[in-house]
Symmetry: D2
Subunit: 297 residues, 4 copies
Amino acid sequence: MAISLGHNRYGKAETRVVRIYRDDERHEIRDLNVSTSLRGEFADAHLLGDQGNVLPTDSQRNTCFAFAKSHGIGEIETYALALARHFVDDVTPVAEARVEVEEFCWDRVAVDGVDHAHTWVRRGQEVRTAAVTVGADGAWVVSGLEDLVLLKSTGSEFAGFLTDPYTTLEPTHDRVMATSLTARWRHTGTDDDWQASYASVRRSLVERFAAVHSLALQQTLWEMGRAALEAHQGLAEIRLSAPNRHHNLVDLTPFGLDNPGEVFHAADRPYGLIEAAVVRDDAPPAPGAWQDLPGFV
Amino acid sequence: MAISLGHNRYGKAETRVVRIYRDDERHEIRDLNVSTSLRGEFADAHLLGDQGNVLPTDSQRNTCFAFAKSHGIGEIETYALALARHFVDDVTPVAEARVEVEEFCWDRVAVDGVDHAHTWVRRGQEVRTAAVTVGADGAWVVSGLEDLVLLKSTGSEFAGFLTDPYTTLEPTHDRVMATSLTARWRHTGTDDDWQASYASVRRSLVERFAAVHSLALQQTLWEMGRAALEAHQGLAEIRLSAPNRHHNLVDLTPFGLDNPGEVFHAADRPYGLIEAAVVRDDAPPAPGAWQDLPGFV
Amino acid sequence: MAISLGHNRYGKAETRVVRIYRDDERHEIRDLNVSTSLRGEFADAHLLGDQGNVLPTDSQRNTCFAFAKSHGIGEIETYALALARHFVDDVTPVAEARVEVEEFCWDRVAVDGVDHAHTWVRRGQEVRTAAVTVGADGAWVVSGLEDLVLLKSTGSEFAGFLTDPYTTLEPTHDRVMATSLTARWRHTGTDDDWQASYASVRRSLVERFAAVHSLALQQTLWEMGRAALEAHQGLAEIRLSAPNRHHNLVDLTPFGLDNPGEVFHAADRPYGLIEAAVVRDDAPPAPGAWQDLPGFV
Amino acid sequence: MAISLGHNRYGKAETRVVRIYRDDERHEIRDLNVSTSLRGEFADAHLLGDQGNVLPTDSQRNTCFAFAKSHGIGEIETYALALARHFVDDVTPVAEARVEVEEFCWDRVAVDGVDHAHTWVRRGQEVRTAAVTVGADGAWVVSGLEDLVLLKSTGSEFAGFLTDPYTTLEPTHDRVMATSLTARWRHTGTDDDWQASYASVRRSLVERFAAVHSLALQQTLWEMGRAALEAHQGLAEIRLSAPNRHHNLVDLTPFGLDNPGEVFHAADRPYGLIEAAVVRDDAPPAPGAWQDLPGFV
């Protein structure tokens, strides 16, 4: 009975790269959190402690900073592709590279109504993401967003559900529905207009969340995902993960008050967690690398 | 040698109150985190375990929800004043009440360019705050904001500083300056136009941060605070707490690249922490209750 | 070109179940965070908004509490198995259930040197975990631990590594090595002695971390995983994820001080992240369900 | 109407200093989070942007590291005193220095039952703290602890409380009581046996929490604080802040199960927050500097 090394990978997580473009007086900013991860011929590092094939994670961090200068950070997908391709092409033992990027967005500050040239305020909690994988099967780009916090105060029901001996929930035809959305969408190609497709997908998601009369969060997610795929032909698949941020109607009758959908307690835990993928039938299948993205199978 | 009970207080922290206004088809939302704290004749609760004077924290929570309905949540300062006055006026053993409120703001979602009637997305990380104290000395209102994250990519120096044997820092005449601002301002009265004064103070802070050519974060804070007091006569004092979110220029010369203020590492810890108060000379002095606000003396 | 629903699942996350055993004067405590997730015939919930097959997540939460009483919480693996089997066996539309449990451990308080019957203090940051999947392919049990924070102040090198044009790191033959370990191990059966195997695996991991003279974190992880599999025949595989909590030697020469491995800066970000699986060759293959465990493929 | 600079201070927060003692084969470790804060003649830095009196926070960080070597870290109180006195004595514009330290504790790992010479595992969530102030009024030492998480499964009541129209809580004569304790105690001198007094105070707090039959958390806190002062003559005052981590009994009757104090839901928010000081009557009064310690007045 033998014991073997199985899957393994290593890299540098959460390098906080900030790039200022100061080509003229009006600066631009890119604010990123970059994680790299490499697979390849690293068995001896484990079995023998031989580091001859191991590019230090410190060097990977340096590369993230250097590429921010030499290649620039236009869109995070192009930056991540450049990094991942570099590791696979230029570092011999590397067979596959994954680069994940979170982008924190900033709004330009206005002074006396005029946009300021070099001052910003952080925009929202929402984070734009990219996860790029380059390996023997080619390159794959998954774009996404995290912590997009949405709430609608009506237009949401939950009724007609299955009951069992542990069911005490009452059906409702008017509730608050809120979530902190994570979405990830896989592109069929590697040269999309990343900014435009991001804006398009985000708009589809937000607008459908608002417009759909919801019979369940599942239905809303399906409608959101479908709208995104319909609006953008370059997408093979979108995956949505939506915690149900429960807003419980507070019983005010002990205090002589009615509460027709007005006062809620925003609960922390537990929370429902609804996850769904929406896929385009003729799209190429998901690569193995897609499996271990944040999210689910 | 005797041992005595000293200062004490108790209350319910972090009640998450969400209030929907649905008077017509266009809903409004208020999303709060409310903490109450009471002082008074509570010695026997400690010394004897006698709860006869102790209004349960559970009742305080209920009151937060009930007042959201009965008194409404116009501005958080008025809501907090109503709660604090109620505890002092209507609960006999209570001598002083503090109510602290955090407000999480939401932006209305647009669908096809039109504001949606009942769907929102969380706005920024910024939190609006109010801390109201009602006691024998009257009522005091302190408004504020937290987590207002600001960054400027130039227009900031740090040079000419004191050096000692432990100083290795080089002076710089062009750096990134970033902070996550906490500000608290004390009103001279209790019936300000809270929304207007909030907007006015916030604008002063942000615009001065952008416009001042900074020789030090201390100077910027002073200018910000002074501008806020100048713009709003109803303020007695403003206190600013500003962690210096260091953006360290990355040395790219080992990789044959120059870096003229373009690529930075956003560091986590440690961080400078600069705190300053700006006060109006003829304003009434700060009450004792101001002392234990979040922040510093 | 059609668009379809892909993989989907839903459940209740993070139900905080605390179970007190008070069969005699000496109480026992189990403190859990339980998450359930179901797959099955839920297409209509998405496509049509029809909830007829959907057992509310609220009912799943109720079941977690009820089973804590009716089935008890002996070991978290048996509790999770009971829950998962119930969902698959008793709720018709459910084809597969995943139950994930975190256990927070407590130490009994001593008073005058004697263990107290009903008072505890939280033990460490370490969390014991179980993830149980029940589906058409049978039942799978994965045990684990999280946030086991380990540090060794010597006996760790990193040298002889691959260099590239972005490498500036100097090799070292004596460094601090620290990590916050996550480990997950898959059992071949479903009726192990869970408490004993947990203790055995944990001991193997900790003792090897201490005893191995480390040439790299990869080598240490391999040795830890191999020791765990060797010590416990019932394990098919173990997966380890180890952030490298860098402790950087501080340069004290500007202050006229040497620093022979004595003063370090504990850095936050970025950090190396090393992940590896160690597998038993004759063990049954990992089921599909193993793929989407927290961790990696 | 003039506007003036009020109170101000600045420093370096959260320098993560790790000190290894390797005088022989059996190493020792000190793991600290150090924050410094200075007051003094810093008006010109604010009003004029003149940094001539400002010792950079970077230098303060360097000093924390250098003192870890030159002065060592015996007990955190002595280390903090040395740092604070240095800033006041050696940096001319500094009138007052505050140094706050958090210490993260480690347990030595056992291998084959023998303590290992240089490997540790992080002990608990509990953090030991010290806050030292040196100024014109002399030096003050406040020791403490944070995140000491305690729970008792019986021996706790809450009944006979005041009720008002917003009270719905039912009295109980047997409940779970749990808290995450913060305690800070002020020493009358500056040369206590810090390790012994820490152990003594901690033991008093934990043992009284366990032994007192609690009629309210207020009563328990008073008993804990009094026991600490009685056991240790060198203490002038102790302040306790105790969030009430509510464990709500789950109603299992809908499922045909009784629940005699066995199954609880551990709630997150809101939570009761009880704060109390216990003081020795003949102790010297608290200095102004004590006012702005974390905690309350």
